[in-house]
Symmetry: C2
Subunit: 312 residues, 2 copies
């Protein structure tokens, strides 16, 4: 019987501009790792939370009920496991970055924990457990980071359809570029600041873009992605909190982006673009961000990046 | 040179429950005919408006600027035609039925008029002219009846993307049933009664259904159509105006409907269902309607019904 398992889960872009709370996209090349091992007793405990430098993370809690990794792992373990479980969290996703950091920890934890079960569940069946972690972090059942981090690619995941989700085909020849400026935005706080209502005209306009974007993904209509990758409701309320947003989005548009918006509640900014333009577009976004006096890093990802997996 | 042309344009289901103002579906077997002919002078005139019985229609105006057929025909003729134009409108779609009656007249008129032009336009290029007629009838640029009536099938047509529209694949094995109870609802009046705002929660729920429905059409996921064909915002505000709505929708659900809602602003009620159940479902809806003391008729249509055409 295996005694320890390590799971990896990617960062993700929540909302993807056009689908507030219902659409998410997995990223390549950046994510969290969680290792789990059997321990004495019958508790689920966080043994270590380590940063990218391998040192104990300065901010994240090791209390089982205050860490999205352990909350999610415990939800799964309490229902299907037996004995004690010890977690080590290796944070690779920056905190409060709008890159789905809390979701990546929760997903990596359930994927690893699943590997210790006598009868592991199918990946999709892990979603409700990972969502328990996310519920703690964001205060609601938003699957737009958890679902793509678990399942990979572009995922439609309206709360009203959960646990059912729909993997959308990422259109060929399109890439995602994500820029993370060295700023922080608290997701739960950012949600509380949003207006609670929208006008009928805003709702109709926004849902038209979302429906068109979904159609564009299936039909591979890249021009239609460019016409529909828009957020007329949430972005105008949030962009002002990210001082480099205007400069970075102008730079992305100048470099050929199909659309630009905040990733989740920000501060990260993402663009979709023709794959051939992605590297130069990332450079242009970084230069614009540094031009505003803010350090940053960026990643380029295709639209069908893999979801979480067990490392062997 | 041809001196007269007749165009046919089908009735249609506006909104299709899940896509208020952005989605429409063409119907088979019911529509309007408009015949146009060259006449002396340089005016566009309505010569006759006839009902199904071939007698002059008791309600519709023959004033060029008060009939959607002549408004639409004139918009096209003024830009591309020369001389005088006389229209005869054969109404096949009941008035104020929620079946896109005004749109069918406008579309049939532009399709016929196009046939008299020295260089006829491609069908899709007729949309803006037909919309001029609809603007008169409904007070806005809503293409959800005009676009399917012109182009056929299931059409995504958000105002923000016009004149671009997206024909969605109607899923194989699914049919539409439309029941027209002998009641009338004025569309423009019905619009004015709607609340001007929605909550954030309603918007997010509804756009999730719409996005899922579009995905279901492309992927042919009939079960997903059943989970997403819902209207949580508009239907609750309008269903109370249609006294037979509850009885008819219960009957449709009992007979295997994937979803039931108002067609446009009603009073017509439509259901999507597996094609094999369509005939019995129509019978069940009719029985329920008559059980409420309201006479009615119904039509069964596939999801890829043809759009408007010139009759030869």
């Amino acid at each position: 019987m295996t005694d320890s398992v390590t799971g990896f889960a990617p960062a993700s872009i929540g909302n993807v501009a056009v689908g507030f709370d219902v659409l998410g996209l997995a990223l390549s090349g950046v994510g969290d790792r969680v290792s789990v091992r059997r321990i004495e007793g019958d508790q689920v405990v966080v043994e270590e939370v380590l940063g990218l430098d391998g040192e104990p993370h300065p901010y994240l809690s090791k209390s089982t009920d205050q860490n999205t990794a352990s909350i999610a792992a415990k939800a799964l373990w309490d229902e299907h496991g037996r004995g004690g479980l010890g977690l080590t969290v290796h944070k690779g996703v920056p905190l409060q970055s709008g890159m789905g950091s809390s979701a990546a920890s929760a997903v990596a934890a359930v994927v690893a924990t699943n590997g210790l079960l006598p009868e592991p569940l199918p990946t999709a069946a892990l979603l409700p457990f990972a969502l328990e972690g996310e519920r703690y972090a964001s205060g609601g059942l938003h699957a737009d980071n958890v679902a793509p981090s678990l399942l990979g690619g572009l995922v439609l995941c309206p709360e009203a359809l959960l646990p059912h989700t729909v993997r959308l085909p990422g259109p060929d020849g399109v890439s995602a570029v994500l820029l993370h400026p060295e700023l922080q935005v608290n997701t739960a706080h950012a949600r509380r600041l949003l207006r609670k209502g929208v006008t009928q005209a805003q709702w109709i306009e926004q849902q038209g873009y979302l429906a068109g974007f979904v159609a564009a993904c299936y039909s591979g209509d890249v021009a239609l992605i460019g016409r529909t990758l828009r957020d007329v409701i949430i972005e105008p309320q949030r962009a002002g909190n990210v001082s480099c947003f205007d400069a970075v989005s102008r730079a992305a548009e100048g470099a050929g982006a199909l659309g630009v918006s905040l990733s989740g509640s920000g501060p990260s900014i993402f663009a979709l673009c023709p794959a051939s333009k992605a590297t130069n577009l990332a450079t242009a976004m970084e230069q614009a961000c540094r031009g505003e006096g803010i350090d940053c890093q960026s990643w380029v990802s295709d639209m069908n990046a893999p979801g979480a997996y067990v490392e062997t």
